[in-house]
């Protein structure tokens, strides 16, 4: 039942105008040709070489809690249905009837015992196996192909923190290997308690008139844009404090692996400021700090149990340098950020997917989370903070959503598409002594290293065999 592999890698890696694919990413100068943001030929190659191969997120387990629950989504431009089987297992199936190509599940969520096509009634079980068609005595699927060959195309499935990932590529490594060293950090954001996280509801979705890579590369670790694109946040702060606006906290560590990237923010100073004069700062263990200032979405009681979940190394990073923003290659964003509200301390736990809809648009899919069993009050704080900060109406991403379309537009012109995207601000590997995490670590002011690694990974998929 595994997905068959396409003849990837057989095609000459040269675009129809004679440009070698390998020339799009100029490794020597750390530049990327702007045509990648709008070229339809490159986009088609991405569907084949990238989106048919990568592990990408499609849903969260808590969206389909009971047998038969399904949601319909997309991988690349392929419609899929994510369904929980009668045995509780999760399947990701191509949402296309094998008879005449009709879309099977037309609702975006629901519950079903079987998947039945609304056109001629071909019917499949929740594993995607073909069961039969109406008027059984006439055997309307014929006898040329046995039923076993008429099942739905099925993707490989794996989960992390309840996030359901899928890939069409039988040769892809396990999800654990795909995440690699970045998983250690991701656990600090999404996998912190025994109960785990659950969605607040179905994701926000909005279509951006931009190429998906505008969002993809930014989320790998572009902290620098905050200074300018999100400057209004500093201006607001200055307005309320009466002090001139300052540069936001740009220091921390960017971590990168397999094209994934995260930013670990140095929170020691604000934390110590809060404790100043109490004579406690030096005496506190990481766990004690975490109980005083719990990670987003956790209560002090839940924070007190973090020692059962994490060892000393992860606790130390979570207390002093928590990973707060980042993205997974190629098309995901991941956030766990404390966010104060007038009514109390809120937080944002969210996950994005940037689902391509052509070279010129993508769907921004945005899930918000709470710990399972959170109080209504906590859920309310998380919901308010999340819509306040991120997503379609938030302080931050409303500005991003107005930026990406203009990058796409700029890449369409004959002259414009000859331009370059530049990644020349380099920190270089400089992992501080004693840093307990793995992966490439770039400490100090946030620079371009992470995003450049994202492009190198993109290049591996586009030009050769990424595994």
């Amino acid at each position: 039942m595994a997905a068959g592999q396409e003849s990837i890698g057989c095609r000459e890696p040269v675009l129809s105008d004679g440009t070698p694919l390998a020339d799009l990413v100029d490794v020597q100068h750390r530049e990327v040709s702007m045509r990648v943001l709008s070229d339809p030929e490159i986009y088609q190659l991405e569907l084949e070489r990238l989106f048919a191969r990568v592990w990408t997120v499609v849903a969260h387990e808590s969206e389909i809690p009971s047998p038969g629950n399904y949601v319909s989504r997309y991988i690349g431009e392929d419609p899929i249905v994510v369904v929980r089987g009668t045995d509780g297992s999760i399947q990701v199936l191509l949402n296309v009837c094998t008879h005449r190509g009709m879309k099977l599940c037309r609702a975006e969520a629901g519950s079903a015992r079987q998947l039945r096509c609304s056109y001629h009634g071909w019917t499949y079980d929740l594993q995607g196996r073909f069961l039969g068609a109406p008027v059984a005595r006439e055997q309307m699927h014929g006898s040329i192909r046995p039923k076993s060959e008429l099942g739905l195309r099925r993707a490989r499935v794996a989960t992390f923190a309840g996030m359901i990932f899928a890939t069409w590529d039988p040769a892809a490594p396990s999800l654990d290997d795909y995440l690699g060293h970045i998983k250690w950090y991701l656990e600090l954001m999404f996998d912190r308690t025994k109960g785990g996280i659950e969605v607040l509801g179905p994701p926000q979705r909005v279509v951006m008139r931009a190429n998906w890579k505008c969002a993809g590369e930014q989320h790998a670790g572009d902290g620098f844009h905050t200074v300018t694109l999100h400057r209004s946040l500093q201006e607001l702060e200055a307005m309320s404090s009466g002090e001139p606006d300052r540069e936001p906290a740009m220091d921390g560590l960017n971590v990168s692996w397999n094209g994934h990237g995260l930013r670990c923010i140095d929170v020691r100073k604000p934390f110590m400021n809060a404790l100043k004069g109490r004579g406690l700062e030096r005496a506190l263990t990481p766990l004690e700090k975490l109980c005083i200032a719990p990670p987003p979405g956790l209560t002090a009681e839940q924070a007190a149990q973090l020692g059962e979940r994490f060892g000393p190394a992860q606790l130390e990073v979570l207390a002093d340098f928590p990973p707060q923003v980042g993205g997974l290659f190629p098309n995901m964003g991941a956030f766990a950020i404390p966010f104060p509200l007038p009514e109390g301390m809120g937080g944002i736990i969210c996950w994005h997917a940037f689902v391509p809809k052509g070279p010129d648009r993508f769907e921004f899919v945005n899930w918000y989370f709470a710990e399972r069993g959170s109080s209504d009050r906590m859920r309310e704080l998380l919901s308010r903070a999340s819509t306040m900060g991120f997503g379609v109406s938030g302080f931050v991403e409303t500005d991003d959503s107005d930026t990406w379309p203009q990058m796409y537009q700029a890449s369409r012109g004959y002259i414009g598409r000859q331009g370059k995207l530049r990644y020349q601000a380099i920190t270089g590997d400089n992992q501080p002594e004693g840093w307990p995490g793995k992966g490439h670590v770039y400490a100090g002011f946030t620079k371009d290293d992470n995003q450049w690694n994202w492009w190198l990974r993109w290049n591996e998929f586009m030009t050769g065999n990424p595994w």
């Binding site: 926000q204 109406s393 500005d399």
Partner: protein, 208 residues
């Protein structure tokens, strides 16, 4: 007869969806005026007062007078736009109960308005969009508390940015609680039921 009654409930938007994952339904019940108090009909001076309030409010938003618009809000405001998904007919209208595009109190709405109106670098709306709100199909019912009214309306937002030749449209039903205060009418609650499951405008940096 039971079947007919059940179908009528569905058509009133009152069918409760219990099936995971959407937990929809409750939000929609709120939108239905069927269980409200007495209808305030066209011709009643209170009806026209409310129509004027909604028209003046839309004019403030169309004029980008966000800080004046904010003054129309009651202190206990709840202003929400639930996320919507496509469901089969017998499973309700697909509005999420706990997931929103906008989930605002008076304070957070003021913060959003302040950022957009008073900081120079809120690029999402600088340069600002040109917008027009068409508010129609206004129905008013008395609420349980004297001086409060349940008001439903349809709104079509037309939005244009930069030199785009296209416009973005957002069509929605609004369910409001409008309250008579000392210095005029106030908006105490608004739920915006959008007609799209995937929004076609790139953000919700404008209000309806």
């Amino acid at each position: 007869m039971e079947l007919v009654a059940a179908l009528e409930r569905v058509h009133d938007g009152q069918s409760v969806v219990t099936a995971a994952p959407a937990r929809a339904g409750a939000a929609l019940r709120e939108a239905s005026p069927a269980s409200r108090g007495r209808r305030v009909r066209a011709g009643d001076p209170r009806y026209f007062e409310i129509v004027e309030f909604l028209e003046d409010e839309a004019a403030l938003l169309d004029d980008n007078a966000l800080m004046s618009w904010i003054e129309l809000m009651a202190d206990d405001l709840v202003y929400r736009a639930p996320v919507r998904i496509t469901r089969d007919r017998d499973e309700g209208k697909g509005f999420a109960e706990h997931m929103f595009h906008l989930d605002e109190t008076a304070a957070t709405l003021r913060m959003k308005a302040t950022r957009l109106a008073l900081t120079p670098s809120a690029w999402a709306e600088n340069p600002p969009s040109r917008t027009r709100r068409f508010v129609t199909n206004i129905r008013v019912h008395e609420a349980e508390t004297a001086g409060e009214f349940h008001v439903t309306s349809s709104v079509l937002l037309v939005r244009n940015r930069y030199d785009d030749a296209h416009v973005d449209l957002l069509s929605a039903q609004r369910s409001d609680l409008i309250r008579r205060a000392e210095d005029g009418l106030q908006l105490a609650r608004r739920t915006i039921y959008v007609d799209q499951s995937t929004l076609s405008m790139p953000n919700f940096a404008v209000f309806v």
